[in-house]
C-alpha cells in the first residue's frame, strides 16, 4: 500500500511539471523507460503479444524463455529488444488503448479498434470532452475514450455487474487513468449515468438501449451533444432509432464499418508448358532463359485472411439539439 501511495504522489508531482516531460507510463501519455508498476505489452512475434505487469523481482515465462523484470525490463527503453533465458528475444512495447484492446482479459465481448475509431470521430471526442458510457464491460472502449479526452476530460462509465465494475476500476488505477474516470455500479436504464447536463457525448452498448435514451438525453449538456448506440441486432436498432426520434434527437444515422485485412504475400505461380515454340529465336545476348517445366513467376500481392469478421454491430448516431 505504501508503494502505491508513493507512486501516485510521484505521478502527481510529474503531472504538475509543465514542460511536457513525462516520466511515468500511463495509457494516456507516453514515457520513455520501463518502470516498476508499469503495464507493458510484450511482443512475441507475428500476431502474438501478451500484457505484463512489471514488478521488481518478478519473472514472466514466454516460449522463448524467462524474462526477469528487474534486469530485463526495469530501466530499459520501451521498444527495446529483450533477450530471454533460452536465447530467443521479444520486444517490449509501450501500452496504448489499441494494444490493450487486443491483449486485455475478456470479461465480456469487447469493441475492437475499427468500431472504436469510428465512434471516436463520430461522437467528436477530443481533449476536454465529458463522456458517459454504459456498459463498461471489459473496458476496451473506455481506455480509448480516456486517451482521447485526456488530460482535461472526464468519463462517467456505468456497469451493472458488480465484479466487472470493480475489476475495471482496478485496471484504470493500474493504468494510471483513474483520475479521469468515475465508475458507477448501477443500471443505466433505471438510474441513468449519475450525472445530468454535463456530457458532450453518450455511448450505449447495452441489451436494451432504447430504455436508456431518456437518461442519455438528461446526461447531455443543455447546449446539445452527440449520442451513439451499438447493437448487434437490427431489431434493437429499430427500437433505438424510434426512441431517439421520440426524445427529439436529430440526424439519426445508422451504419456499420467493417475491417478488411490484406496479408502481403509473395506467391509463386508456375508457368504452363505449351511445348517447344518453333518460332522462338534465341538471341545471343538474351537474358531470357528458355522456358522450363519448373519455371514460375514471383508475384507480390495481398491475400485476404481465411476468416474475417463479417459483423460486430450496428452503430447508430444522433445529435441532441439545444434544449
Amino acid at each position: 500500500m505504501k508503494e502505491t501511495l508513493f507512486f501516485s504522489l510521484k505521478y502527481a508531482v510529474f503531472k504538475q511539471s509543465n514542460n511536457g516531460t513525462v516520466l511515468t507510463m500511463s495509457f494516456v501519455e507516453y514515457s520513455d523507460c520501463i518502470q516498476d508498476g508499469d503495464v507493458a505489452i510484450v511482443y512475441l512475434g507475428h500476431e502474438s503479444m501478451t500484457p505484463v505487469k512489471v514488478k521488481r523481482g518478478a519473472q514472466t515465462q514466454t516460449r522463448y524463455g524467462v524474462i526477469r523484470h528487474s534486469t530485463d525490463l526495469i530501466g530499459q527503453r520501451y521498444g527495446s529488444k529483450v533477450t530471454c533465458s533460452k536465447g530467443g528475444w521479444v520486444y517490449v512495447l509501450h501500452p496504448t488503448p489499441e494494444l490493450w484492446t487486443v491483449n486485455l482479459p475478456h470479461r465480456t465481448q469487447i469493441l475492437y479498434t475499427t468500431d472504436i475509431a469510428t465512434i471516436t470521430m463520430m461522437l467528436e471526442l477530443k481533449p476536454g470532452s465529458v463522456v458517459c458510457e454504459s456498459g463498461t464491460g471489459s473496458g476496451s472502449l473506455s481506455h480509448a475514450i480516456l486517451r482521447t479526452i485526456a488530460p482535461t476530460g472526464h468519463l462517467h462509465t456505468v456497469e451493472f455487474h458488480q465484479q466487472r465494475s470493480e475489476k475495471v476500476l482496478e485496471e484504470f488505477k493500474e493504468h494510471r487513468v483513474d483520475h479521469m474516470v468515475t465508475v458507477r455500479n448501477q443500471d443505466a436504464c433505471k438510474d441513468g449515468f449519475g450525472v445530468t447536463g454535463v456530457a458532450d457525448a453518450v455511448f450505449l452498448d447495452i441489451p436494451s438501449p432504447w430504455e436508456a435514451v431518456r437518461h442519455a438525453k438528461a446526461a447531455l449538456k443543455k447546449h446539445g451533444g452527440r449520442v451513439c448506440s451499438f447493437s448487434p441486432c437490427i431489431e434493437q436498432v429499430q427500437k433505438t432509432c424510434e426512441a431517439f426520434s421520440d426524445q427529439g434527437f436529430e440526424d439519426i444515422n445508422s451504419l456499420e464499418v467493417l475491417l478488411r485485412v490484406h496479408d502481403v504475400r509473395t506467391v509463386y505461380l508456375p508457368l504452363p508448358d505449351f511445348g517447344p515454340d518453333p518460332s522462338a529465336q534465341i538471341q545471343p545476348d538474351s537474358t531470357i532463359t528458355p522456358p522450363q517445366n519448373h519455371a514460375s513467376i514471383a508475384v507480390k500481392t495481398t491475400i485476404p485472411p481465411r476468416d474475417v469478421q463479417g459483423h460486430t454491430g450496428y452503430l447508430t448516431f444522433a445529435t441532441k439539439p439545444r434544449t
Binding site: 494516456v28 511482443y43 520486444y91 479498434t113 447546449h223 469478421q309
Partner: protein, 481 residues
C-alpha cells in the same frame, strides 16, 4: 454546468467565425462575413442574420437572401394526406399526374409561399397521390421537402463534419480519403494531447486539422511539407482558437536530407551573408512571394509618375525636385528591404524551431497521407520516431503500401504491420422499411499501420519469426486489430 451567458458564448455564432453550412447531406465551409454574398446549393444569401444566433440553428431562406431562424419544430404541419392506397398496380407513371407546371410552381415561389405550403399544393394537385401507399407517400413528401424546403443549418466545424464535406464535395483534394478511413488513422496513430506528431499530407490540411483537433492544443504537431509552403486551407476551416497555432510547426522536406545528415544550418547569418541566406531560402520562396515582390516593384515604379506631377506643381522649378524624389524612393526601398529581412528572419526562426523539435528523433507518431509515392516519405520520416511508437500511412493505391510493407520488413525496426481498408455501409431504419442504403465499398483508400521498435536491420534468423505465419488454425477474434 451553469446556464450563464458565458457558457452560451461558446455556442454563439460570431462574425469572423468559420462555420459549416448544411442542407440535407451537403456541406460547405465558409467564414461568417457580414454583407458578403454566399452561394450554397444554387442559392445566394447573406449570413448577417446568423450572427448572434446559436450554432446548429436552422434558418429558412427568405426572398432577398435573408436568413430567418426557423421556429423550433413547427409541428410538422402534417401534410394533409387523405388516405392511401395498398399498392401500385394501377398507378401509371406517365408524367401527367402533377397538374402544376414548372411555371405554376415558380409563381407560387414568387408569391412567397413557404416550402411546406408548396409541397401541400403539389400533393393537392397530384392525381395519383391518394393511390400511393403510405410508404410511397412518405417517400414522395421527403423528396419534395429536399427540393422545395429552403433550409440551411449552420454548424460548428469538427473533424467529422469537415471530413464528410471534403469527401462529398472535393474528394480529389484529399486524395479520396473517406471519412471513416480518416477516423481509423487518428486512432491507429494514437493521436492524443501532449504528444509530438509528424504529419505529411497533401489533403488540403484536413488531415493536419484533424490531428490538431485530437491534440486539443497540447503537445506539438510538425507539418512536413513539399514545395514552397505548407497548405493549410483545411486547418482554417476548423476554426481553432489562436493558441492552437502555437503548437503547429512546419518543416520543408527539401531540407530533410540536410537535417538527417546533420548539415542543416539554421543559425542567424550576418548581414553581409544575407545574399547567401536568400540563395538558400530561394528555393523555398513561394510563388506568392515572388509575385508580391514583382508587384511591389511595378507599384513603386507607377507611384513614381503621379508624385512627379504633384511635386512639379507643388515645388517650384528649382533643383530641389530631383533629390526629393530620389530620397522618397530610397526610403521605400529601404522599408521593403527591412520587411524582407524581418520575414526572412521569421522564416529562419521557424525553420530552426522545427529542426530542433525533429533533431531529437523522439516524435510520438507519424501520419502520412499524400499524392506522393509514400515509400520514400515513410522511410525518411520513420527515422524521427522514438521506438515503440505508431505510424500510419494512407494511400489511394494498395500497391504503394505493399511496397512500403516489403521495404519495412527488409529493413526491420517495425512490428505489427497491417495493410487494411474499410467497408462502410449506411442503413435506412424505418418501420418495415429497414435496409442498407449505399455500399461504399473499396472507395475509402488503404492504410498501412505499424509500431516502431529499437534498431533496424534485423538478423535473418530472427526476422523469420515475424513473417507470414505457417498455415495454422486462426481464431476469428485474432484476425482483428
Amino acid at each position: 454546468m451553469g446556464d450563464n451567458v458565458d457558457d452560451d458564448s461558446l455556442y454563439t455564432i460570431k462574425e469572423g467565425d468559420y462555420v459549416v453550412l448544411k442542407r440535407g447531406d451537403v456541406f460547405k465551409a465558409v467564414q461568417i462575413q457580414t454583407k458578403k454574398k454566399v452561394i450554397f446549393e444554387k442559392q445566394w444569401f447573406f449570413l448577417d442574420n446568423a450572427v448572434g444566433q446559436l450554432y446548429s440553428t436552422t434558418f429558412e431562406l427568405a426572398s432577398g437572401g435573408i436568413l430567418q431562424p426557423r421556429k423550433p419544430k413547427d409541428p410538422e404541419s402534417s401534410t394533409d394526406t387523405k388516405g392511401a392506397g395498398t399498392d401500385n398496380r394501377n398507378i401509371q407513371d406517365d408524367g401527367k399526374s402533377q397538374k402544376l407546371t414548372r411555371d405554376d410552381i415558380e409563381t407560387l415561389k414568387e408569391q412567397g409561399l413557404k416550402g411546406q405550403e408548396i409541397i401541400q399544393q403539389l400533393i393537392d394537385n397530384s392525381s395519383t397521390f391518394k393511390d400511393k401507399t403510405e410508404y410511397a407517400q412518405d417517400k414522395y413528401i421527403k423528396k419534395k421537402k429536399k427540393k422545395y424546403e429552403n433550409m440551411v443549418t449552420i454548424l460548428k466545424p469538427s473533424c467529422r463534419i469537415l471530413a464528410m464535406m471534403y469527401h462529398g464535395r472535393e474528394p480529389g483534394k484529399i486524395c479520396h480519403l473517406r471519412y471513416d478511413t480518416l477516423a481509423q488513422m487518428l486512432t491507429l496513430a494514437n493521436i492524443h494531447a501532449n504528444s509530438k506528431v509528424l504529419v505529411f499530407e497533401t489533403c488540403a490540411g484536413l488531415v493536419l486539422g484533424s490531428v490538431m483537433e485530437r491534440m486539443g492544443g497540447f503537445g506539438s504537431v510538425i507539418q512536413m511539407y513539399p514545395g514552397g509552403g505548407p497548405v493549410r486551407a483545411g486547418v482554417e476551416s476548423f476554426g481553432f482558437p489562436a493558441h492552437f497555432h502555437d503548437t503547429l510547426h512546419e518543416f520543408p522536406i527539401c531540407h530533410l536530407n540536410a537535417l538527417i545528415a546533420g548539415t542543416l544550418d539554421t543559425t542567424a547569418k550576418d548581414p553581409s551573408a544575407d545574399l547567401k541566406e536568400s540563395d538558400m531560402t530561394a528555393e523555398v520562396k513561394t510563388e506568392a512571394e515572388v509575385k508580391t515582390e514583382a508587384e511591389v516593384k511595378t507599384e513603386a515604379e507607377q507611384k513614381g509618375s503621379p508624385e512627379d506631377q504633384s511635386m512639379e506643381t507643388n515645388s517650384g522649378a528649382d533643383g530641389s525636385l530631383v533629390p526629393k524624389k530620389e530620397e522618397e524612393e530610397e526610403k521605400r526601398r529601404e522599408a521593403k528591404a527591412q520587411e524582407k529581412k524581418v520575414k526572412q528572419e521569421e522564416k529562419r526562426k521557424k525553420l530552426a524551431a522545427a529542426a530542433s523539435l525533429l533533431e531529437g528523433r523522439n516524435a510520438d507518431g507519424l501520419v502520412i497521407a499524400s499524392r506522393f509515392n509514400p515509400c520514400p516519405v515513410l522511410m525518411a520520416l520513420l527515422k524521427f520516431l522514438s521506438p515503440s511508437r505508431p505510424f500510419v500511412v494512407y494511400s489511394q493505391y494498395k500497391e504503394c503500401l505493399i511496397e512500403c510493407y516489403t521495404k519495412l520488413k527488409e529493413q526491420g525496426g517495425t512490428v505489427n504491420l497491417k495493410l487494411t481498408d474499410y467497408w462502410l455501409r449506411h442503413y435506412q431504419v424505418l418501420p418495415n422499411r429497414t435496409h442498407p442504403v449505399l455500399l461504399m465499398s473499396g472507395g475509402g483508400g488503404y492504410l498501412l499501420s505499424g509500431t516502431t521498435v529499437a534498431g533496424g536491420g534485423s538478423k535473418p534468423a530472427a526476422s523469420r519469426r515475424d513473417e507470414e505465419p505457417a498455415p495454422k488454425r486462426q481464431k476469428v477474434t485474432e484476425t482483428e486489430g
